[in-house]
Assembly symmetry: C2
Homo-oligomer: 438 residues x 2
């Protein structure tokens, strides 16, 4: 076989992507037949290989870091790109944790016997071929490939072009290790798109005959571009504009605890609060308390006129910086120590605000009134809605799913955190003794 | 308000479709709040209105039949377009049957309590706004709108242009009746695309902010065109190329019964068998039996060379017409008294044939050998796989789901028959007492 670069060089991009996708589809049939023990053996071998080859991984990564620096990536981006001992150990640990989780394939989800004696079983199956599109962090390669493999899916991975050497080596080590540990392992179960050509994505996502699902992970721009061009199903969340509504019947201490946690525990993630909605009757008391609470974290408040008036009238100088919120602020995932604040008339107006400005990700109400809570939980149509708890819980680990491959705000297919079970489809198996339809 | 035609006349197609979609989205919030009793009252009123207005429906339908005849529709197409007393009564009965089914919204699908005391409930919810695209039969309007309404979804219906008068009146009667019976009924819960402009479909299916799902029903051409242009999720099956594999260990009488049923009980539907795969060791005995069995139904056999040789060597003149199958035949949903026949080496080759030529709809094995059955049920990745039963069972009614809105061969979201439960999504509800993330 000629060297890879030469080999690919002779094919058009369409041919390259079709070959990747066809190989993945072929791998699926073998993957679906592997036993849980076989898959776990392979995952263990993959983890060991990553640890053993830490030196080679760091060298490949050094090339990427060099290119990244030449490309002018920010220090934060370069940090995300970096693979050090800790992160390599983290990838290995992640693969072993996935091996320890229950196998998600072959679960009987439902069973019924029809009057004619036909027994119907709804059984979980792999989805098939999954394309993962992501940005800088090369550890996503191991995490995503491990979760997809355990759920019997073939993966085609497309990371950032700045991480290509790291991503290719991670995938190669995983495939080689699995192949040695498990002769039945199909080598095309895990593939990295071997070109940085941007056109590769629409080419790949047009191949509906081979590809079953695409999961983009990253900024809203990337996800919108993928959703716009894809002809295969996409599971995604565009952004996390999460709300906490503090109702007139809220316990003020509980409300403070939840607001602080939802905003400041980790402001850069999708389930952090972006907008605080405060019920009008309690706003004059509650808002100054919140300003004092958030001041040590240097949170900037972007307030609507009612909230701004209260905050600015506070007897003490306002301890947080207060700006006037624009309409755009309420649509924005700041991912930072910035909090939109609005005073609303009641729970209905809170729900309306969330329907208009929200991203259907995670929204919470704080109240001691069960009727108000019920209205909120019913009316707010988000993947996760909380009563007296922080929005920060929307997470596969926190939900007890084990590792998570992403979060969905879609209505078709999975909604909310996606763990192993959420990476499966199902089929109906009909067991008869000669039944025919009358 | 100006008459509808004038009103619409002033808007661009994009504006018209955006308005339809936005109205549907607004209707959703009210729909999600209706109680099961309220929905059932409205369904009963809709059924009564269709019966009461049978005369008006037949008049509107007569206009469509006239246009259809002018358009040169075939007699079969005109028959599908026709609304007579029986079909009107059928629509009313369908709506009452849907009312009698359990409400699919608000079911607790899963419940777990986390170590921190946070209680998580996965609860079924409506999907939101569903666009249904279909061909001639106007009764689909009532059936689809009724199922979507009961599951709390708003519908935008786009039937064939030849059925526009019938479809509009059906929807109008349903909306008026529901509004009289139930003041909270949102009038935009059921809307018919009021133009025959083909461009309306891509315009509508680009509105990802308002539309949650599209379900096209009809021929493969229609479905491919919809899937190709849609930016919203599409649930579909392109075609039903269903197989029966008769294994060497099959009970011959059972195999005959299943083959006859799968091919001839209703050959024009998607779960009818298109291809018979016969295991090589039994082909010389089994194929002539099948030819004699299918002869009274004038089934044409399109046989691969091995099967053709056996059939043509039959001592008696072959009782069925035997043609040489082309490769294209094996990909084709004939929907007719035509059956592809192929001799295969074993269950593995049968599964390979199905993976290559099949449509992942419904496939069956007939065998008395449980190991062979297990291989088939495992390897064949179709929405429904049967052991010793006819493929004809893939149907919402036969599965005990009540009415069915369609069948999906997709891997993301619903697979197989889609009843009321399959028209729902879910959300996670977190019930806490002040939990924050550590």
């Amino acid at each position: 076989m000629p060297p890879l670069a030469l080999y690919w060089g002779r094919m058009s991009l369409t041919e390259q992507m079709t070959q990747l996708a066809r190989q993945a589809k072929e791998a699926c049939r073998t993957l679906a037949r592997l036993t849980p023990a076989e898959k776990n053996t392979a995952l263990g071998a993959m983890a060991a290989a990553l640890e053993r080859q830490a030196g080679a991984l760091k060298s490949a990564n050094a090339r990427d870091l060099e290119t990244g620096a030449e490309m002018g990536l920010s220090a934060a981006m370069l940090d995300r790109l970096k693979l050090d001992e800790t992160r390599i150990a983290g990838m290995a640990r992640g693969l072993r944790e996935v091996a320890a989780l229950p196998d998600p394939v072959g679960r009987v989800l439902e069973e019924r016997t029809r009057p004619n004696g036909l027994r119907l079983r709804k059984v979980s199956t792999p989805i098939g071929v999954i394309v993962i599109i992501y940005e800088s962090r090369p550890n996503v390669t191991a995490d995503a490939a491990g979760l997809c493999f355990k759920s019997g899916n073939a993966t085609i991975l497309r990371g950032g072009k700045e991480a290509l050497h790291s991503n290719r080596l991670i995938a190669q080590l995983m495939v080689e290790a699995a192949g040695e540990a498990l002769p039945a392992f199909p080598p095309h179960a895990i593939q990295v798109v071997p070109t940085a050509d941007r056109q590769a994505i629409p080419e790949l996502l047009a191949l509906t005959a081979y590809i079953d699902l695409c999961m983009p992970r990253g900024g809203e721009g990337l996800i919108r571009a993928v959703a716009q061009c894809s002809k295969v199903p996409v599971i995604k969340h565009y952004k996390g504009v999460c709300h906490v509504f503090v109702d007139r019947n809220a316990d003020p201490e509980m409300a403070e605890r939840i607001v602080l946690n939802a905003k400041c525990q980790r402001p850069g993630v999708c389930n952090a609060m972006e907008t605080l909605l405060v019920d009008r009757p309690i706003a004059p008391q509650f808002l100054p308390r919140i300003a004092r609470l958030l001041a040590p974290h240097h949170v900037e408040l972007r307030a609507d006129s009612a909230a701004a008036a209260i905050l600015r009238a506070d007897a003490a100088a306002p301890p947080c910086r207060v700006k006037d919120a624009t309409d755009a602020d309420f649509f924005t995932e700041h991912n930072d120590y910035i909090l939109n604040v609005r005073v609303v008339d009641d729970v209905q107006q809170a729900a309306q605000h969330i329907a208009h400005y929200g991203s259907a990700h995670s929204d919470a109400i704080v109240t001691a009134n069960p009727d108000t809570a019920r209205t909120f939980l019913q009316d707010v149509d988000s993947a996760a809605v909380y009563w007296n708890a922080s929005t920060r819980f929307t997470d596969g680990g926190q939900f007890g799913m084990g590792a998570e491959i992403g979060i969905s705000t879609d209505k078709v297919g999975v909604r909310g955190p996606m763990g192993l079970e959420e990476l499966t489809s199902y089929k109906w198996i009909g067991l008869g003794d000669g039944q025919v339809r009358a």
